[in-house]
Symmetry: C2
Subunit: 325 residues, 2 copies
């Protein structure tokens, strides 16, 4: 006997009436409703979440697509999960470890209606391919995307990076190294443009050998210091370095300390994102309102899912100066 | 017209036959199957994931319960998500921000069959209450739990903490401060016991005023240094501090540097978990095989969910000595 039949039998009402109570229809009298609810309570009956999802056509679940979760992503993840849960949505994490096939799982799950929407933190698949999934549900990206179908909450990193560049240049630095992140990302392209514009504005010689892409970890920051020190003439070394994130800056500052390279005298260091790590290590960094970007991302999705439409918060970078500049 | 009816009509077969193909029944001839699959392909038909969950009685989703995600949890989260996905399971994050009601949402979701199982990273509700949900699905905890219904993959922190204590004592330290974590957790109780035993073993006077609970953040570590320096006589200050995690140790080391308290000469510092942060800052720490504990947690759940039963990995702490001791 199904749960519905059992409740109907015990309560003495029809299955249709029980179903109306379950679906919170108003066409049931209060005494009838009370009696049926009491019996459901007694039976410890709970409606099956999947059945509700199936009948409503929504899962109240949002997938987050990422290569892996690191310190920089934490404020985005925590803020998104928290905001979504305030609206009754849950967040499923899809980590790909950089494998395009694994990443596609998240998109296939939206196609199969296991999630209502997707938020991309980082992704590795071709954007045209990912865009083709937009017909199955809304997709929002944290990073900037050159795909008109995928909305983005990214800020223009040109602005944030320019803050760091102007800061070190104002302190007399002329040989600026750049530790950029992912080579193909629009974020990196914005930063490269910011550097080229600043160099032109201030008449600085560009140092192509010290502009690197694909640098995002502590260990890569450490390695960069060792490479700088391998140059014998200190005047040929960079006198400032701008980093893709605070992890790289942390690696640089720690290795510099171990190798007796003075920060900021010999090398000024600017991080990015202004994480707890920058505070702890006293690293000058660019405040990036990541938690608020996550809120914007959720509200974009919610509006597309037919929920309340809240205006997007206007967000701004700012420089937080500490001991490394 | 439902999808099923549409496929039946276009293929010229009955709904029952289409359904058998969908359910991968063997009682369909190959030409029939091929024809039906071709039509599904043409219609871009995908089975609804919720309908599959409903018919199979499983969601292939596991909820992770946590107050919030921090650096220390990252290896657990990443390893769990990765391992689960290898077996076709997805991980939903439930963060409570310490609110017992919000935390209960995860347990209610298991009751409603929206997740098949739960893994607890940290939790705030009463264990008896949480244990009462075991009848709805398996629950495994990262932390030790004094509830026989909730399995745990925790290691006995007594052993790990003892490694740190014996290390600083072997280096002549006698005034040991303890920055413990959550007061009521079994982890903390294990560490307190380890400290009391070591003090007794080596005839050290205990310093109750320097044994604190509820210390788990960078800023709390910084505050601890300021409190130590407020004691005028250096011989009344602790000469070593063992920390609940590497974040606290990072706060202590950074603040000590700013305040010109020499590490390790004036104060030896031992972290816990041996995270990237400990490496970056050169902090002596206790290696805690967190990623492997996450794997064990998933395999425990999988066995209870009726999947393959892999033996639990035997795990061990070890001391990683760096510049702070």
């Amino acid at each position: 006997m199904s749960n519905l039949e059992q409740i109907a039998k015990l309560s003495g009402f029809s299955k249709a009436t029980v179903s109306r109570v379950l679906n919170q229809s108003r066409h049931v009298s209060q005494p009838t409703r009370d009696k049926i609810l009491a019996i459901m309570e007694e039976l410890d009956y709970v409606p099956n979440g999947n059945a509700i999802s199936l009948s409503k056509g929504q899962t109240m679940q949002i997938g987050m697509v990422t290569e892996g979760i690191n310190e920089v992503m934490l404020p985005f993840l925590n803020s998104f999960v928290e905001t979504a849960s305030q609206y009754g949505y849950q967040t499923i994490i899809y980590t790909s470890s950089g494998d395009p096939k694994k990443e596609l799982q998240a998109f296939e799950d939206m196609r199969r209606k296991r999630v209502d929407a997707l938020v991309i933190s980082t992704c590795v698949n071709d954007l045209a391919l990912l865009g083709s999934y937009c017909k199955y549900g809304p997709i929002v990206s944290w990073q900037r995307m050159e795909n008109p179908q995928i909305a983005s909450v990214a800020m223009n990193q040109y602005d944030g990076y320019t803050l760091g560049l102007e800061h070190v240049i104002s302190r007399g630095r002329t040989r600026i190294a750049n530790a950029y992140g992912r080579p193909s990302s629009i974020n990196t392209l914005g930063r490269i443009e910011a550097y080229e514009d600043a160099a032109r504005r201030h008449g600085l010689a560009e140092l192509p050998q010290w502009s690197r892409t694909g640098i995002h970890s502590i260990r890569q920051g450490e390695e960069l210091v060792r490479e700088m020190l391998a140059v014998e003439d200190p005047l040929q070394r960079p006198d400032a370095v701008l980093c893709s994130n605070d992890l790289v800056a942390a690696g640089i500052v720690s290795e510099a300390r171990r190798r007796r390279l003075r920060v900021p005298e010999d090398l000024a260091v600017v991080g990015f994102d202004n994480t707890e790590l920058a505070h702890t290590l006293g690293i000058t960094s660019i405040y990036n309102p990541i938690a608020d970007q996550a809120k914007n991302a959720f509200h974009l999705l919610l509006a597309k899912l037919g929920g309340a439409c809240e205006p997007q918060q206007k967000l701004q970078y700012c420089l937080v100066q500490r001991a490394t500049t």
